[in-house]
Amino acid sequence: MRRLLTLLCVLICSGWALPAGADGLPAPARRIVTLDWGVAETLVALGAPPAGVPDIRGYADWVADPPLPAGTVNLGSRFEPNLELIRSLKPDLIILIPFQSGLEPLLRRIAPTLTLSVHQGVGQPYAAAQEATRTLGRLTGREAEAEALITRTETILSDSRARFAVAPPPPVLVSAVADAHHLWVFGQGSLYGDLLGRLGLRNGWTEPVSDWGFSAVGADRLAEAGDSTFVTLRPLPPDYETGLTQSPLWQALPFVQAGRVTVLPPVLMFGMLPSSARFATLLADALVPR
């Protein structure tokens, strides 16, 4: 993990030190295509929205805010985006994330590519997202906007942190519900886990998780985090209302008994700074209302 982190820093810093263009990337890029929603939300926030993004309906449901401008081209799946369509957009830069690196040889034939690693095996997605935002700012010629986005996000985080400091809540368990008996829980290394630390909160899930920072678990294991505040994110499956929350085991969980159950609007689990700010605000609004 540490080695990967160092490697990432080296990669990003070396890119940072080089004059733009020397690494083969155009400066500033005018038409960007990204295959990742986290990069897409950042580009929108920087005022340089991407020309094409995969699965736009999915973006609307899982990222929600900031919305993609009308006219953004839907590139199909995030796993196998439509190459002929990307080509027809004539991008000057294609941005992807590590798990899509298998696509690189194909995409390089269309335009220079850049792989931004924010989540996979990084351990501190928030810091990585800040660095990635700087990189994106440099590539789009919007360094000032990038710094502003970083500062703005920091302000929102410290604002929320201050609100939590006034009335410190119990540890927070962030989850996504799969069905009546199963959830994904977010631990060390996930964006939510990282943000909880930065907001001065303890993560309710202390068990080991996958490299991606989350694990699929049976609902019976929620008892291990009974002292937490339970937070789950939309979109919820129909089984949440009719299955999970109806069960006696659920009813008996300490956080349910104490009424510490919160459902938040969607926040992308693999998001970047806009998602981070959104998560901090939504969480503070839910747990410590003004």
């Binding site: 996958s210 609902a219 129909p238």
Partner: protein
């Protein structure tokens, strides 16, 4: 089980043994909760762990009973909810409902599952009706229907990945419980079904006398069969609706009952459910214990599927003990006259294939809708479209050649590299290399795929060694390998990490990542292997005459078989790397060649090669344009097109 001394395994004893093991394992599983005195632990015990055990037991009973019923009515030891399409049908119906009408699932989960299940079983029965419900075609139809429903579910997941991620979990059959709702819902159903089954015992056992005798005793045969089938479907659909897919339990119960000595219907109906109960209980409790040591969820269904493969292999051995009831005579192929103009037909097929290739290269969808690329556009798009077209055509051609050889070799019109498990073996090799050596290069993966195909091939040869290869046995070994592959995939995809969807794409046979060098390599291998096939034409002409005739005409059967199998494995492995383990091209293409009367080995090989290439070209093109801007893996599209045709063939032959 044949390893046990033959005097020992009475069903009761085996049952006791399994239940004792289950008991021991549950003590280990429940121990931490029993030792803890906090009130929440008591709740976790009584609302979590104990209902889980109860669920495993009741699901096991239901599946075992369902399997025993299927086996008796269909007179087929390989029949079970998994092998007659019941589980697959339920799964697909639930996936479709989750996507298009999630509201229905709240109260109507069981009815959705039942409808899907019943439809799939009805389809399988209708398809094997004309062949008098022969065991082999019936199970093959069931298998194809199961693969088909699985393929459609996979296509849905690929296009809606975020929405159906939980389907991975459910499809792998987790028995985690948070209340008693599952045992409460299933127990009354199981009790009612059991009572009804025992009430039907006498008329059901009269089915053994044969239709004539039973009818003369005044037994309403159709009614009895229909009633028993309804009960079997109800039981398995209820389990799928409540717990997901718990593969092979319904096959294992009756199998264990049989090998431990249960011969009469009464014994089978008594012991099959009990043995299945103990088996699922033991599996589930072991999984629960193992789950403590890994961060991710271990689904029980994936574990049960792992023992499915050895189980089928074991059953294949029992086939010998009761040949009259279980082995079907080799299906007779319909008599056809050879065409008088094979050259014209081949020319027409070649022209059609060329036309398809041109269409795939020039016609596509873009941001402004349909577009025909001509002139400079055509040359611009060529580097994108040509590799796919070339690789798809080469893979189709290789599978078609492999299929033709296998059909002529085994004398079975239902043989094909997909059915024989050779392609599954290759894919399993790739899968293992992907997860065990994530940094491995393409060449390394290719090596693993070849090893996998070779492994399956060796298993086939081993099964083959004694009596020169009964076709049934080879086919069933293939089914077993396919099942093992399914199990591996569902274990690997259960935790829903993003690799799961990528993996799914890739095992479904996507031509998306094929680049020109790969395409040229595939094309080269195809040409090289195709160049070897003329050497086999004499063998392939003589083999369908039967072993005696072939031997008297001077063929060294063992040597010829070995060479043909090696060639087939090479063809299948090379094709699988491009289009994945499923496609049915290898099964279909030889039949397409026979339709116009291309019957001699030479013309059938040529005709099949051209049709195989053409079919795969069409599949790849449809994959690219059908759900634009999304794409479906070409192998999956080939399955979607191919499976119905295969089913048609099974019902016709």
């Amino acid at each position: 089980m044949t390893l046990l001394p033959s005097a020992l395994p009475r069903p009761a004893l085996l049952c006791l043994l399994l239940f004792a093991a289950t008991g021991g394992m549950s003590v280990v599983a429940l121990q931490p909760l029993l030792a803890d005195s906090r009130p929440l632990s008591a709740l976790l015990l009584w609302q979590g762990a104990v209902p889980r055990l109860a669920s495993a037991l009741v699901c096991g009973y239901a599946l075992g009973l369902s399997g025993a019923l299927f086996q008796h009515i269909l007179r087929n030891r390989l029949a079970s909810p998994d092998t007659v399409g019941a589980a697959g049908g339920a799964q697909l119906a639930l996936a479709l409902t989750l996507l298009f009408a999630p509201g229905l699932l709240t109260g109507g989960r069981f009815f959705v599952a039942f409808a899907g299940s019943a439809a799939a079983v009805a389809a399988v029965l209708a398809l094997s009706w004309r062949r008098r419900l022969d065991p082999m075609p019936l199970v093959l139809s069931g298998l194809v229907v199961t693969l088909y429903t699985g393929a459609v579910s996979a296509a849905l997941i690929l296009v809606n990945d975020g929405y159906l991620a939980s389907l991975f979990l459910w499809g792998s059959g987790s028995l985690v419980q948070t209340d008693w709702s599952l045992p409460q819902a299933l127990t009354p159903l199981v009790v009612v079904c059991t009572v009804l089954v025992w009430l039907l015992l006498r008329p059901l056992s009269l089915l053994d006398l044969g239709d004539e005798a039973a009818r003369s005793l005044g037994v309403p045969l159709t009614l009895i069969r229909l009633a028993a089938l309804t009960l079997a479907v109800t039981l398995s659909a209820a389990v799928v609706a409540k717990a997901g897919v718990l593969g092979f339990v319904g096959l294992a119960g009756p199998a264990l009952a049989f090998v431990s000595g249960a011969r009469t219907l009464r014994q089978s109906l008594l012991w099959s459910p009990l043995l299945a109960t103990a088996l699922l209980g033991l599996t589930d409790q072991s999984v629960a214990v193992a789950g403590r040591f890994v961060p991710d969820l271990l689904p029980t269904g994936a574990a049960t599927a792992v023992f499915g493969a050895p189980l089928i292999l074991m059953l294949v051995r029992t086939l010998r003990t009761d040949p009259a009831r279980l082995t079907a005579p080799p299906p007779q192929t319909r008599h056809r006259l050879p065409t008088r103009h094979p050259g014209r037909w081949l020319l027409a097929l070649g022209g059609l294939t060329l036309l398809l290739a041109l269409t795939a290269l020039s016609l596509g969808r873009g941001p402004d809708g349909w577009a025909l690329a001509v002139g400079p556009d055509f040359t611009d798009l060529l580097p994108w479209r040509l590799p796919r077209v070339l690789a798809a055509a080469a893979a189709g051609l290789m599978l078609a050649l492999a299929g033709t050889m296998l059909q002529r070799l085994t004398g079975n019109p239902l043989a094909g590299p997909e059915v024989l498990g050779v392609t599954s073996g290759a894919a399993m090799g790739m899968l293992i290399s992907l997860y065990a050596f994530p940094a491995a290069t393409g060449g390394f993966q290719t090596g693993f795929a070849a090893l996998g195909a070779l492994g399956v091939l060796l298993a086939l040869l081993w099964l083959n060694r004694r009596d020169g290869g009964s076709t049934d046995r080879i086919l069933l070994a293939g089914i077993a390998v396919g099942a093992l592959f399914d199990a591996l995939t569902s274990i690997l995809t259960a935790d829903g990490d993003p690799r799961a969807v990528a993996l799914l794409n890739w095992t479904m046979g996507s031509t998306y990542r094929v680049e020109m060098p790969d395409a040229l390599l595939t094309g080269g291998i195809a040409l090289a292997l195709a160049a070897v096939t003329p050497l086999c034409i004499r063998w392939l002409d003589l083999l369908p005459l039967g072993p005696e005739a072939a031997r008297s005409l001077g063929l060294n059967l063992q040597a010829v078989r070995l060479r043909l199998l090696v060639l087939t494995a090479a063809l299948s492995a090379a094709a699988t790397l491009v289009i994945g383990p499923l496609s049915f091209i290898g099964l279909m293409a030889p039949h397409l060649a026979r339709l116009p009367g291309l019957l001699s080995a030479r013309t059938q090989l040529a005709g099949a090669a051209l049709s195989g290439a053409g079919l795969m070209l069409a599949a790849d093109w449809i994959s690219r344009v059908a759900v634009f801007p999304f794409q479906i893996p070409a192998g999956l599209t080939a399955t979607l097109i191919g499976a119905p045709l295969v089913l048609l063939l099974i019902s016709r032959e």
